[in-house]
Symmetry: C2
Subunit: 211 residues, 2 copies
DNA sequence: CTTTGTGAAAATGTTCACAGCC
DNA sequence: GGCTGTGAACATTTTCACAAAG
């Protein structure tokens, strides 16, 4: 069965929510309650979960702790990914220190930049390497995910470096759409912040609300 | 006619792409070419644009410059929004200097933090204010959009401040789902970076590619 | 009485296919 | 020949509604 992309997105949302609830020592949650927290419908929650199995108990709801485990297994079965950030600017800096990556099982273990003044320095405990050493370092450190946080003009170089490496996934913050040649091998997820601002502007103007 | 949310998202994507193309002095673009750049189908491009009017010319395609103007009018008719960032940490810092916001017509004109050591300082040309002055400052500066880049635990306070202010839209980087009481008035758009990482992890594991 | 899991129905979104225009 | 705009066909996704289970 093919799982809709929207379902995967919501599953991640549910997981986020459940993790917060877990800390509050709530043992069971109904699809209704989870739906209210994540702003979807109860049927939607049940349908989404049904793609992956039967996790609930009739009349009681879902065991929060167990559901968290199940969803983590679905989304991050490896439990631990090494990731790197390309671009040691302000955004790269912020992302290196972003506490939630580690909580979700993603460890930033290397930074890359082309600026000689930055190379060799550290952000927190993470060292900044010369971007030319991308392949060598990422292979040695078994890094499979790259977060691209460089200015747009650096795009070309990065793209070629990544195409030659063993990177499997990219979280891309640069506006330019990456056109990785070996796209069949590499999964790219774009995060376009000015797109978000445009959408926000549109929704405000239309006085609509959505997600 | 009701415009699908997905269409709005894609329109923003097209705009981003067209702006890059405009610089390259390409005068006309076909739905086919625009589709290839943004990884959708040509029919999709045409259908999306059709929600807002007839912008193309048969046999020629779309006048890039004119289409950029049209799409900007749709997404950001105001052309200029004042925005603020709540949280002068690493992420707030990065977003303040994020060059694409200004290009898209969004000016960061204030920062807010609760740390007395930060209050009064500047990031670039933008001053950091005491978060307690949120309503006063945002009203004086006619700020309608707030970008929330605080740690999760600061959520409650911010939420109450915003609910009392004249803010119309929120770009929310905190994991906690905001539950602004007067939600009917305020549009909230969530950017959840660890959700993105989870999705990336899922897609890599499934060896699927999407968007 | 509550709540899940799920077929069936409804709604929504996408692709096809082609008329009409350059 | 090339390309847009658009109804119609198709596909997907969401909601409804209810049987089954605790």
């Amino acid at each position: 069965m093919d799982v809709p992309f929207a379902t995967v997105e919501r599953i991640a949302k549910y997981l986020r929510c459940l993790k917060r609830i877990k800390n509050k020592k709530i043992k069971f949650i109904s699809s209704q309650t989870l739906a209210e927290h994540t702003k979807v419908t109860a049927e939607q929650v049940r349908k989404d979960l049904a793609y992956f199995g039967k996790f609930g108990r009739t009349g009681t709801g879902y065991d929060v702790k167990k559901l968290v485990q199940k969803l983590e297994k679905i989304l991050n079965p490896k439990q631990n990914w090494n990731a790197c950030i390309v671009g040691a600017g302000a955004l790269g800096h912020a992302l290196t220190n972003y506490p939630d990556f580690k909580k979700a099982g993603f460890n930033i273990t290397a930074l890359f930049d082309s600026d000689p003044k930055k190379i060799g320095n550290k952000i927190g405990t993470v060292k900044i390497y010369d971007v030319k050493k991308f392949s060598v370092i990422t292979e040695k450190k078994e890094i499979k995910i790259a977060i691209i946080a460089t200015p747009e003009n650096a795009k070309e170089e990065i793209e070629q470096l990544i195409a030659k490496s063993k990177i499997k996934g990219i979280l891309n913050f640069t506006p330019a759409t990456l056109s990785i040649k070996s796209r069949q091998k590499i999964t790219v997820l774009d995060v376009d912040l000015s797109q978000k601002m445009y959408i926000l502007s549109y929704l405000i103007t239309q006085k609509k609300r959505r997600q």
